[in-house]
Amino acid sequence: MTLFRRFGLPERLLAILLLVAGVDFAANTLLFDRASRFALREDDAARVAEHLVIASRAIERTTSVDRARVARDLSTPRFAFEWRAKGRRASGSVALAGMREQILDVATELDRADLQLHLKSMGASGNIVGSVQLSDRSVLQFETYASNAWTLNAGRIATLLLPTLVLVVLAWVLFRATLAPLGTLVRATRKVGAGPPVAVAEQGTEEVRELIRAFNAMQQRIHQSMTDRTQSMLAIGHDLRTPIARMQLRLENTGLDSETMGDMTGDLSEMRHMLESLQAFVETGGSQLKADRLDVAVMTQTLVDTAADEGRDATFHGLESLEIIARPVSLRRALSNLLENALHYAGSVRVTVSRDGDTAQIAFDDDGPGIPEDRLDDVLQPFVRLDTARSRDTPGMGLGLPIVHRAVTLEGGTLQLRNNKDGGLCVLVRIPCAIG
């Protein structure tokens, strides 16, 4: 059953066709063919019986000197006789027992003549040879054709199966052609949500066209709902900015003690930071900005220098110049996020820019606690935070790495996180280099 489930639609249809053809073949063989075969056999038997009776009577009445000549005279191209005074006779073959019975039904006198039949081993297919014993124990041999119905040989099976085989090949080709639009549909389904919807061309049978129409409509609805969601997230972000700006300015006029002021300013700046990361996350997916040639080594080094100037432990190693094609804004934000992450969780970071064939590599190594192996994939999911709610001390909404992931993917690159053997996390960004 599992094997059957593994079959594709064309295979199943073909199996059904084969089953139908098989049943048809069996029915033909067993019913129709059998009936016609009986008719043919009876004709054959009667013909053989008549010839044999006439020939044996004629030869019986001839002197033994003339018998060989008379036997030759009685021969026709389709029924040859040969008389011998004596000789060894091959015993009849079991396969032709049925025919023998039928011949004897027609001509009972041949029973006494000890009729023996067998198939001619070589030469013309389906020919029957046989012999009868005359009253003086001389032997009359004969050779005649028999209808194909007597023998169900391989050639005959092939002849009967040939139309079925042609039918199967034709059916296979037609099934594949009919089902091809489904393959297109499957490929299109895999891409839904990964970009603006591309309508699948309507083709194939009416049912398949119906399916494609439904799919295209569904694609539009999904895209619309994703766009709506993006727009509402951006709108929320946008609308919150004005009240936060008012709070910020009002706070400056309250004359609160400096500690409360500092705390509230911190709260407002965290809210601002959250809005920025939310916006960055939403916008990185569908950035309107074009990709440009840029020097990723200089970009990385500039970020490291800026962090180092702020008194933080960031060092830069590797290439001084490496050009790639990328969207500068989102890439800069991605690299900055990785730098900030490492500095936040580990307190120090070593950034190395290198080139591996046609790929630019930017590695961020730290000596921090790393990420539990079973959470390495989770941290790329939006709104996932590794620190529990109680120990939460990281600003933002758990969008830092998802933003990086989106930005790097947008440039056709990859983001790898792995724990170093001697502790610490290594984050590796790989982006294709500029050609030339």
């Binding site: 900015r241 840029l294 200089v298 001084e320 050009e323």
Partner: protein, 243 residues
């Protein structure tokens, strides 16, 4: 341009309470402020008497912010700081392309806004006194030895066309060098210029900034066009073309 009285600012902001709060904060910092809720009100405010600077919220209702921006740029050279409620990079790049002098994302603190206004006003003043033309300095591209510097976007592109990131301080230093090519600049003067332009005192030594800038200008091969004049300072030896 003389500045006997306090600089005059036109503030365009559609949110009433925020407009009041911002105007008050700016007045407390010594600026004369006229406010406008719409583009039409802005034109009225500008016709009455000239302003030293316009603070413009780009997502105004009515006339699209961008259209308003273009018209303002066409009709006047007044420095513009635009406030983006969306705070997106697209907005920032668009604003600077349209000829804004600086950009502030909402929400902002008074300190941040005042620092930006101060820096833009100082830049405008020093441009007036420098030999470099002010409009060219603000928005045009400057070329040297195949490199391109976009003053509007504050970007540096290498001879191969790749964007080369600079920190704000590094860009200001490069701008200073390009403003005085083939002239020896003393270290003290560079420190002073950098500080003015940054609007923020920096204890980073000019020598570190110069060496970083040199490294970036020579990273893709070739020699950096900044030479050390022993005991005096530095000289930008490349020929500078303004396009």
């Amino acid at each position: 341009m003389e500045h006997m009285q306090s600089p005059s600012i036109v503030l365009v902001e559609d949110d009433g309470p925020l407009r009041t709060l911002t105007a008050r904060a700016l007045r407390e910092n010594g600026y004369t402020v006229r406010t406008a809720a719409t583009g039409a009100e802005m034109w009225v405010a500008l016709e009455g008497e000239p302003a030293d600077l316009v603070v413009l919220d780009i997502m105004l209702p009515g006339t699209s912010g961008i259209e308003l921006f273009r018209r303002l740029r066409r009709q006047s050279d007044v420095p513009i700081i635009f406030v983006s409620a969306r705070g997106s990079e697209e907005d920032r790049v668009l604003g600077l392309e349209l000829g804004a002098d600086d950009y502030v994302a909402k929400p902002f603190s008074t300190r941040e806004l005042v620092a930006r206004i101060g820096a833009v006003l100082r830049r405008g003043n020093s441009n007036g006194s420098d030999s470099a033309g002010d409009s060219g300095q603000r928005s045009g591209d400057i070329h040297f030895e195949g490199w391109t510097v976009s003053m509007a976007r504050r970007e540096l592109h290498s001879p191969s066309g790749a964007m080369v990131d600079l920190t704000g301080a590094e860009f200001d230093l490069l701008a200073t060098f390009m403003g005085q090519p083939q002239r020896v600049l003393g270290r003290e003067r560079l420190i002073e210029l950098s500080r003015t332009r940054l609007g923020d005192s920096s204890d980073r030594s000019v020598d570190v900034l110069v060496s970083r800038l040199r490294r970036k200008l020579s990273a893709a091969g070739g020699n950096a066009p900044i030479v050390t004049v022993r005991g005096v300072g530095y000289m930008f030896r490349a020929e500078v073309n303004r396009a």
